[in-house]
Symmetry: C2
Subunit: 243 residues, 2 copies
DNA sequence: ATTCTTTATTGGACCTACCAATAGCAAGGA
DNA sequence: TCCTTGCTATTGGTAGGTCCAATAAAGAAT
């Protein structure tokens, strides 16, 4: 059957851009398990020779993979491109780019995070099993120490870990990574605007939250958490920008 | 206060990797709104001259931004690098990479998606306002047509749109993009394994879901949706892989 | 045994040249 | 007039070379 006049009879013999083919090759090796996190790729010059392309092409391919968070390169002797473990960074840079492009607002991101954290608690409540709270207990204890000793620098990673442990209650990596990415994003923008927050209020909220969880009052925990986040949110917008 | 012997007294004057500085510059211009979607960057040779770096460096920077989904390049006269609109593709490739790196499983992704769609319905129910169902109505009508006329090819994008419209009920772009990304991922892997599914069963589920929503029975809608997704999930794992 | 020096390796940057796609314009023919 | 054809300038894509800088390991000096 003949094609209509305007339609293409032939597909292009070769898709443009050699470096994309190189990226594809490496992705395939990763997906097939031939390359695993920690493995080292051949040197750029060697790869170029093996694939019969210029070193430029190899470098652009590595740049693409590195930007996607699948590689890290080290200089010097015995350096090279090493396969990375997956991390939330890949999602959070994607979210960050969407914020930069004005495709999503920080308000939306904030609301989505509150909703998702609440969803996690709903899920735990519904499962009927008593969750393992040891990680959260330890985190709140460490936060209490950091507040009393005045080590405000330690509080930022502890806060990140706190929300991570909530997400981890579901034992679902996809949710963990997504929530981690949101937390990372929010913290990045938050640090630009507020220097510090009220430590006592923070501790009070954390303890109340944990007490609710221990007692199995998941709805109350959810309310406590979302109200705390609301307070932070208000602070964020009211605080003077300090870029 | 003097630093300990081993510690660095000075930070390096310039961090390695010039192309990262170039990426940063362009990102800044984007964040500041000086560059907007649709705008065209100067030609590579011109950019290289302006920034006083080699064309190679410019290209590697553009590759990084392009991979992040912020740019697209066109060849030829009046070609160049054009700023893109944000899209869910950026998140979905991040998710895809995490699956490839075995950091998250498809099961987790599937479960997370079911949870998040349920969360959307909870949120709508809680808001108390009657949602605008026109988009969903139209989508289901179109699906019905595609099923009866046997146009199975149309059903894939319609399914994607269906879940997108559910996400859109929250009017939160962050959630929309995240759920869209999940849908895209799942569909990509699903298409590799199942050729088709039962159209009647699909329609039945869609209509029941919509009826529940119209009547304000959000919990029932949630159950209907999650059961449908469960069925798809089971099909997915039982179907013979066809790579 | 410890410390310093050398050296081979390897990524980072630069450069020049050429190829290939593309849009716009001009010339030519129906 | 309108459409085709071909030329041309612009611009990204690829090649392949040079040099620099960081680095780890081997070797030399203490």
């Amino acid at each position: 059957m003949a094609k209509a006049a305007g339609e293409a009879l032939f597909d292009p013999v070769r898709s443009d851009r050699t470096f994309e083919l190189v990226v594809q090759r490496i992705r395939e090796k990763l997906a097939a398990g031939e390359l695993r996190p920690g493995d080292k790729l051949p040197a750029e010059r060697e790869l170029a020779k093996q694939l019969d392309v210029s070193r430029n092409v190899v470098r652009e391919a590595l740049r693409a993979l590195e930007n996607a968070g699948m590689l890290k390169t080290r200089k010097g002797a015995h350096g090279g491109a090493f396969i990375e473990e997956g991390s939330a960074a890949q999602i959070s840079t994607a979210l960050n780019d969407l914020v930069i492009l004005n495709a999503i607002s920080l308000d939306d991101l904030f609301e989505a995070r509150v909703m998702m954290l609440g969803m996690v608690l709903d899920h735990v409540a519904q499962s009927g099993k008593a969750p393992d709270l040891s990680a959260l207990e330890a985190n709140v204890a460490a936060t209490a120490e950091a507040v009393t000793t005045g080590e405000s620098a330690r509080r930022v990673p502890l806060a990140r870990a706190f929300y991570h442990e909530i997400a981890a209650l579901t034992d679902n990596r996809a949710l963990e990574f997504t929530i981690d990415a949101q937390t990372e994003m929010i913290q990045t923008y938050l640090r630009l605007r507020v220097s510090d927050m009220d430590g006592d209020k923070l501790l009070q909220s954390r303890s109340a939250f944990l007490a609710h969880l221990r007692a199995g009052r998941f709805d109350a925990a959810k309310v406590e958490l979302s109200e705390h986040l609301e307070r932070v949110h208000r602070r964020l917008w009211n605080a003077p920008p300090t870029p």
